[in-house]
C-alpha cells in the first residue's frame, strides 16, 4: 500500500490513523519530557549556568571596563610604541580621579598589576596625587612620580584593560601574552601553566595506570570467587570508598609524615628516615588509593557478566590457561577497563585536596591553581580560564578516546 493511501486510513471514529498516532505519541513525548525536566533544570541551574558565567569572567575586564573610558578614547590614535601625549595622561588622571572618589581605583590597580607587575603601587601613588590636582600638566607629574609611566608597555596594558573583553587570561593560561608585536611566549621564568597541565596529565595518567595494574587482578579475583567470599572481599574494596576523601588524605598525611609510623619503622629497621610527605610519591600513592575502587568496579561488573564457560570453551578448544585468558577473557573486559580508566583519569585531573595536603609545591595540579586564584588572589578571570582550558583539553581527549575505543562500547556495569 502506498503512503498516500496509508494517510487516508481511518480509525473507527473516523479520525485519520496518522493523526491518532501523532496524538498518542505526543502524550508519550510529553511524559518523557516531564520525567527529565526536573533533572534538566537542576543541571542547567547548578552546572551549565555557573559554567557559563565563570567562562564569561575569563574574557571580561570586569574591574576596569567603563572606568577607563576617557583614557581609551584618548589612546585611540596612539601608535602603541612611543610615549602617549598629554591628552592621554590627562584622560587617565580624570578617570583615576573619579575612580578614586568612588573607591574603585584599587580594583583598577589590581587588574593592571596582573599584566604589569608592580603597577599597583604606582597606581595608588598617582591616584592620590591626581586627586589633589586641579589642572595639568599631567604628563610631567606622572613621569616625575614614577619613571614607569614613560613605559609604553604599561600604556598598552591600560589600553587593553579598558575594553570590555580581553584575551589576557586565556593567553596566560597557556603561558602566552600580548607583546608589542602580537602574541608571544612569556619569559621562561614566568611560564608555569604549561608545566602544571603537563604535570596534571602525567599524574592523572600514572594514577590511572597504577589503579588498573592493581585493580585488574583484584577484580578478577572478586569476579571468580563464590558469591559469599566475593562479598566479604568487596567490603574491603568499598571501605575506602565509603570514607571521606579528606579523612583518607589526612590519614596518609599522618602515615607519611617524617615523624609518622612508617618513618619510625624505617628508623627502627634501617636507621634512617625518608622524605615521603610533600612529595610526588605521596601524591601518587594517596590518589591511587582513593581512585582504586573507581577503576576496579566497572571492570569487576563487566567481568561478572563473562560466563565462566567461555574460558572453559577456549581451554577445551586447545588453548592453554594464558592463551585462553588473553584471547578470550581479556578482550571481553576491555569495555570495563575503558570505563574504569576514563572515570579515574577524568576524576584525577580535577584532584585538589590530596596534592594540596600531601604533595609538594612541584606536585600542585591545575585545580590547586584554580583554587589559589579563586581564594587567595581573588582573580576569577584567571581561575576560570585555567578551569575552562582543562575542561576543553579533557573534552578533546574524551573525543579522541571515543574515536579510538567507542564510548558506546564502554560499560559501567
Amino acid at each position: 500500500m502506498s503512503l498516500a493511501e496509508a494517510a487516508f486510513i481511518q480509525a473507527v471514529d473516523g479520525v485519520p490513523l496518522k493523526i491518532k498516532l501523532a496524538r498518542a505519541e505526543r502524550k508519550r513525548k510529553l511524559k518523557a519530557v516531564g520525567l527529565v525536566l526536573p533533572l534538566f533544570l537542576f543541571v542547567v541551574i547548578t552546572f551549565l549556568s555557573p559554567l557559563l558565567v565563570m567562562t564569561l569572567k575569563s574574557v571580561e575586564n570586569e574591574e576596569t571596563f567603563g572606568r577607563l573610558d576617557r583614557t581609551r578614547e584618548a589612546l585611540a590614535s596612539w601608535s602603541g610604541q612611543d610615549l602617549p601625549d598629554e591628552a592621554a595622561f590627562a584622560a587617565l588622571a580624570a578617570d583615576l580621579k573619579i575612580a578614586g572618589e568612588q573607591r574603585l581605583a584599587g580594583e583598577i590597580a589590581k587588574r593592571i598589576n596582573y599584566e604589569f607587575p608592580g603597577a599597583q603601587s604606582k597606581f595608588k601613588t598617582i591616584t592620590r596625587k591626581v586627586a589633589a590636582m586641579e589642572t595639568g600638566p599631567y604628563r610631567e607629574t606622572f613621569l616625575s612620580t614614577d619613571a614607569a609611566w614613560g613605559n609604553p608597555k604599561l600604556w598598552r596594558v591600560i589600553q587593553g584593560a579598558s575594553g570590555k573583553y580581553t584575551a589576557y587570561y586565556w593567553l596566560s593560561a597557556v603561558d602566552l601574552r600580548q607583546g608589542a608585536s602580537g602574541i608571544e611566549q612569556v619569559p621562561a621564568n614566568q611560564a608555569v601553566f604549561l608545566d602544571v597541565y603537563g604535570r596534571t596529565f602525567w599524574i592523572a595518567g600514572l594514577v590511572t595506570g597504577l589503579t588498573l595494574v592493581l585493580g585488574f587482578p583484584v577484580a578478577y579475583l572478586l569476579a571468580t570467587q563464590p558469591a559469599s567470599r566475593a562479598n566479604v572481599l568487596m567490603i574491603f574494596v568499598m571501605l575506602p570508598f565509603w570514607t571521606s576523601l579528606l579523612v583518607r588524605t589526612t590519614a596518609w598525611f599522618v602515615l607519611l609524615r617524617n615523624e609518622g609510623p612508617l618513618n619510625d619503622l624505617a628508623q627502627l629497621l634501617i636507621g634512617s628516615r625518608f622524605d615521603m610527605i610533600f612529595t610526588r610519591f605521596a601524591t601518587i600513592l594517596a590518589m591511587t588509593h582513593i581512585q582504586l575502587p573507581f577503576t576496579l568496579l566497572p571492570i569487576y561488573s563487566v567481568m561478572k557478566t563473562i560466563p565462566p564457560s567461555h574460558v572453559r570453551a577456549a581451554r577445551s578448544l586447545g588453548a592453554g590457561p594464558f592463551l585462553a585468558f588473553w584471547r578470550v577473557y581479556f578482550p571481553q573486559t576491555v569495555p570495563g577497563i575503558a570505563a574504569g580508566c576514563l572515570l579515574t583519569f577524568i576524576l584525577s585531573l580535577g584532584y585538589y585536596i590530596t596534592p594540596a595536603l600531601v604533595g609538594g609545591p612541584r606536585d600542585q595540579m591545575v585545580s590547586n591553581y584554580v583554587s589559589y586564584y579563586m581564594n587567595n588572589i581573588i582573580n576569577f578571570g584567571q581561575a576560570s580560564a585555567l578551569g575552562a582550558t582543562l575542561l576543553i583539553i579533557t573534552l578533546v581527549l574524551y573525543w579522541a578516546y571515543n574515536r579510538l575505543v567507542g564510548i558506546d562500547k564502554m560499560k559501567l556495569g
Partner: protein, 376 residues
Amino acid sequence: MSTSERPGNRRGLAGKPGDFVEFIDIQKTYDGETLVVKNLNLSIRHGEFLTLLGPSGSGKTTSLMMLAGFEVPTQGRIELDGRRINDMAPHKRDIGMVFQNYALFPHMTVEENLAFPLQVRRMPRADIEQKVERALEMVQLSQMRKRRPAQLSGGQQQRVALARALVFDPKLILMDEPLGALDKQLREHMQIEIKHIHQKLDVTVVYVTHDQSEALTMSDRVAVFNDGVVQQLATPTDLYERPENAFVAQFIGESNKLRGVVSSQNGKECIVNVNGHGDVRAVPIRANGPGNKTTLSLRPERVRINPTDGVFTNQFDAQVEELIYLGDHTRARVSVLGTDDFVIKLPNAEGVPDLAPGSPIRIGWKPEDCRALDWS
C-alpha cells in the same frame, strides 16, 4: 594410537578392549560431604553415540566435566584411548565440547570462532582457512562467516558451536544439553542434523540431556543416571522394552506401577499379590523370591480392554475414571487392583469400544509385558 598398541591392557571391571573412554570406579564430591557421582563405571566404545540421561542434579554435567578435564575425580580413573587422563590439562585432551549456552566468543566473528582452535594449534594459515571453510559448509553457515554471535539466531549459534567443536577433528565430542535453549521444532531438526554429522564423521559423541525422547532418538546407547549412579546402560530399545529397575521404568516413557509381595517365583515367572486385591503374573527381573516386596511395571499400551476370556493370564475388573482424547490415541485412567491411577493407551482405530467414565470394564495383559522390579 590403535587399540592393539595400547600399553598396559589391565582394565577395571568396566573395561573391555575396544572401549575408547572409560570411567573406572569414579567418585566425585564437591564439598567433601556428599558424593555427586558414586562409583561410576562406564565404557564408551569407539565411534559410539552415548547419551547420559537423568534428572536434574544427577551428576551428568559433573561426569562430563571430569572427562573434559574441568573437574578432578575425587577417586578412580578416567582413561581415554588407553591413557589415564586424570591429571591431564583440558587443553591437551583434544576433546571437542559443545556447551549448553554455546559459549561462543562474543568478540570474534563466526569465522574467527572457528579458526580459534586451529590458531592455538599453530596450524598454517592456508590449512586454517580450508578447515574453517569446510566446517562452515558442514553446518551451512558460509553466508554468516563475518557475523558476530550476537547477530545470529539461537539455532545458528548452536550450529557454530557444533562446527567449532568439530573443526579441529577431535576424536571425542562432548555435548552438554546443546539443544536445551532451542524451541521444540528446531530441537528436533538439530537432533537429526547432529545425528547425521555423527554418522558422517568418525567421532565418538558423549551427549548429555534430560530429555528422554532426545536420548532415545539420537543415541546408540543411553546411560540412565540417577543420584550419582548409572541405573542402566543399554540401547534405546532395551531401555524401553526391558528396563532393569523401577527408576528406569518410570523415567523412560510411561509405565504403570503396581506394588506387591511375591508369593511364588520360578526362573521365568512369578506371582505377585498386589495388596490383597489380586494376583499378577510377571517376569521376575529384580524380584527376590517369595515374601519379598516388588514393584510391577507395565507399559500403558500393552494393556487390552475387554479381552476374550482366557487370552491373558492377567485379567482384572476395572472401572473407567477419566478419558482423555489425544488424536491418535485415547488415554484412559482406570481404577484396578486398589489404585486409581492406572493408565491405558487405546489406539483410536476400529474395533475399540466406546467407553464412558464410570463404566465397568475388564482389562488384561501378558505376563511377559509385566516386569517385577525392585521395590521403590
